[in-house]
Symmetry: C2
Amino acid sequence: MADEELPELPRGIALAWGVAANPQRGPKREMSVEKIVDAAVELAEADGIGAVSMAAVAAKLGFTPMSLYRYVSAKDDLLLLMQEQATGLPPEEHREHEGWRDRLRALFEAQTLIYLRHPWILSLPITGSPITPNSSAWIDAGLEALSPTPLSEIEKLAVTLAATGHARWYGMVTAGYAETSRATGLNPNEVALQEATLFDRVITVEEFPYLRAAIDAGVFTAPDDPFRFGLERLLDGVAMYIDRLEQGGERAPVREWIAVDPAELTGDKKHREAQKAVRDAEKALRDARKLERQVRRDAIARAARARGEA
Amino acid sequence: MADEELPELPRGIALAWGVAANPQRGPKREMSVEKIVDAAVELAEADGIGAVSMAAVAAKLGFTPMSLYRYVSAKDDLLLLMQEQATGLPPEEHREHEGWRDRLRALFEAQTLIYLRHPWILSLPITGSPITPNSSAWIDAGLEALSPTPLSEIEKLAVTLAATGHARWYGMVTAGYAETSRATGLNPNEVALQEATLFDRVITVEEFPYLRAAIDAGVFTAPDDPFRFGLERLLDGVAMYIDRLEQGGERAPVREWIAVDPAELTGDKKHREAQKAVRDAEKALRDARKLERQVRRDAIARAARARGEA
DNA sequence: AACACACGGTTTAGGAGATATACAGAAGTA
DNA sequence: TACTTCTGTATATCTCCTAAACCGTGTGTT
């Protein structure tokens, strides 16, 4: 009866919400979902998400791999629960801040910290919409921060989502370095420097003039954080919009989702051909550039050889 | 010699840049990297990234699995090349727009379209920093759009990154629906509706008052796109900042990257204990909430049963 | 022209990983 | 006590990735 109340809740999500029918009969349980998740998280912290296998988790707890399946119905569920545990609840401190802006910023920073601490979270596959207790709590906190503003509900959600996404993006870019650093044993600065060297090799003025200029200005080697700037501009924009509303200004039109041209999906022939033409043209351009690079490299090498022999 | 010029280029990246020493001896090649990547992409388009196995790709081309390794040094490389191919070059149309704002928006929309068309891209693991030709071209295009502005190089990069990240986030959220839709056979609207039902089940007024209010306002069922709003606010903020600069205003201070407290990484004991305390407290809260949910559910079920029996 | 050797595709094999299934023993229940 | 339910285990299958050895094919060299 009680089960019929929640028919389609995916297994993992149900577990996260604590919908676990505690069994009455049978032997005592020797493990618990929590212990399993803890062990899995420890493995991930130490050696990345790749180190998390059912066998490894079980071994860490001193059991056989199959025993885990009495607690977790599949590995995907375990991954979801790991994410949930590492994400945790939003910190209470953000409530101490006064305005919506400071609150949102505090949430943003808390979120980025989580990703910096647990970079493996970001390498988990996004399984649609993870409606878990903790992720809901983060969104709720964002909406709460914006609750004193005259924004509409969907606008509040939009701003919350934007800030969350920005934090996530921050994490992804940074976690890339962190993971490379862990995998190679180099410290992050060395990794950054090495990357910069690679950049120098392939980013030419002719092909990428603007990116080249940015590199020359040192944007990838400076210790400056481009993400804060982005967040502040976003918040500026929101503040401006709120001001406008408060002065009786018009609300921005809310557009619909970008729709994928159905022709592409149903396979309209002409359209497919057009797409193919674009792809072919891109390929031709790529090839031409590749050739150009190759030739240039050869020329340089030849010159070097000549210099060496001279 | 020429090889020594590019020593540390990771294999896959080197391939993407077309650094492929064409062999002279031996039998004619019957395949090519391009054909392999095409086949792999076709598999991914049809059945998701999970359908891409070396064996499947080889079979699609009529060869044995191992043959692929003469062209691609590992599966990861193949995945990188797939991403590169599906990303393509930024469309030229964005150059037709006048101001930086319209250009950036055009790039944003082009990028989101790519993710909507190839949602599997987003389920690829981010392998650090994919410095590939096409991804560089996208960044270059963003910087170009901003080149007439008085923004500094790092500020331009920050804005470009923010827009890119927002598009990616848009894609992730939307692709979740797309993948669920493909996997379950339901259309996206049905998926959204089903999700909404799940939301209704677990998001209570007591626990998530603000999220609950948003749901009641219909933010998840309306056909409105919260991401455009976010983008426009970001662009508003950038515009505002540019105005300020043009009127002789001060540049925003650029902060350094958020640093993870080294105590956490070196394992300071006190700090670890404090962290554990937080986690325990969170767990206690979670448990209390779980119990509360359970009890409430039981009560509801009991009431329903009583009603049924009455 | 003959030959050596680099190279392409194949075969075979190993190893890791998720998980289905069947089972023996433990704890409640009738 | 007998029955039922449940736990952890053992065994086995299936899917992947990829290392290594092999044979035939052209090209460059002698």
